[in-house]
């Protein structure tokens, strides 16, 4: 099965643009200047490795590189567990 949720938006300047339509909602009256809205943080590669290393050790007792190697080899036991998937979801932080 293959499916996606696609949100289209236009950009004049490249990699990030304005949301033109998002399902079930309208956001035209709110924005990032909102006092209740903390800032988004773009993770650097170095931070990504630190985060993945910490999460992999806390969850599985192994380092980030070992986790990635075993994950990609299908050698992680019970890969559908939320705690493990949560670490796997962080792999794009580093590669």
């Amino acid at each position: 099965m293959s499916c996606q949720v696609v949100v289209h938006y236009n950009s004049d300047n490249g990699s990030e643009g304005n949301v033109a339509s998002i399902p079930k909602s309208s956001i035209s009256d709110v924005g990032p200047s909102d006092d209740l809205l903390p800032p988004y943080h773009e993770v650097t590669l170095e931070e990504g490795w630190d985060i993945l290393e910490r999460r992999a050790r806390e969850t599985l007792g192994m380092g980030a590189e070992e986790f990635i190697e075993k994950w990609e080899a299908g050698e992680i036991e019970d890969p559908h567990r939320s705690e493990i998937l949560s670490v796997a979801f962080l792999i794009p932080y580093v590669k």
Binding site: V7, H8, P32, Y93
Partner: protein, 169 residues
């Protein structure tokens, strides 16, 4: 108007002041990029309510630009997510998951009813009902935040939460 990442931060701000972190990954030879988003880097965050709960939100998206049209329209496609509710002792209540790129043997969106919800003496799959992947349609983060506010009595942090989350189907 806000970017998708700001939109995601806005939606979760209805129940938490924790920060959404993200990383863009461009691959050579391809005109798209993957974006990984994680509230508090995937570590569950407390949300205030009558039952103390923890919330985890992680998403994967792919950003593509259509260079064939003059407007060079960008599209962002949600291609995976994890939305998890846990008790404060980390016992799972419910987990919405869709991770076709992470586990190719399980390509469809699904829900797990965790040990805090599934009876250990259930008539089917006793003791392991929490392992069952109940199929769902794709679930939005707006749906999950609406769920915790309206069904689990989580206190919204902002008065405009209904406007942010939008009209429910």
């Amino acid at each position: 108007m806000a970017s998708y990442r700001e939109r995601l931060q806005l939606v979760v701000s209805c129940v938490t002041n924790s920060v959404v972190h993200g990383k863009s990954v461009s691959r050579s030879g391809r005109d798209d990029e993957t974006r990984a988003f994680a509230l508090n880097n995937g570590v569950p965050v407390p949300i205030a309510g009558t039952t103390p709960l923890l919330l985890r939100v992680q998403q994967h998206c792919i950003l593509t630009q259509d260079i064939e049209v003059p407007s060079r329209q960008w599209s962002i496609s949600l291609v995976g997510y994890m939305y998890t509710l846990q008790l404060r002792d980390l016992t799972e209540v419910v987990a919405y998951q869709w991770h076709p790129q992470r586990t190719i043997d399980l390509p469809y969106p699904h829900i797990h009813f965790g040990p805090a919800s599934a009876r250990p003496d259930s008539a089917v799959r006793p003791g392991e009902l929490h392992k069952v992947h109940f199929p769902t349609s794709i679930v939005s983060i707006e749906d999950v935040i609406h769920l915790v506010i309206t069904e689990f009595q989580v206190e919204p942090r902002r008065p405009d939460w209904e406007a942010i989350l939008g009209t429910r189907a």
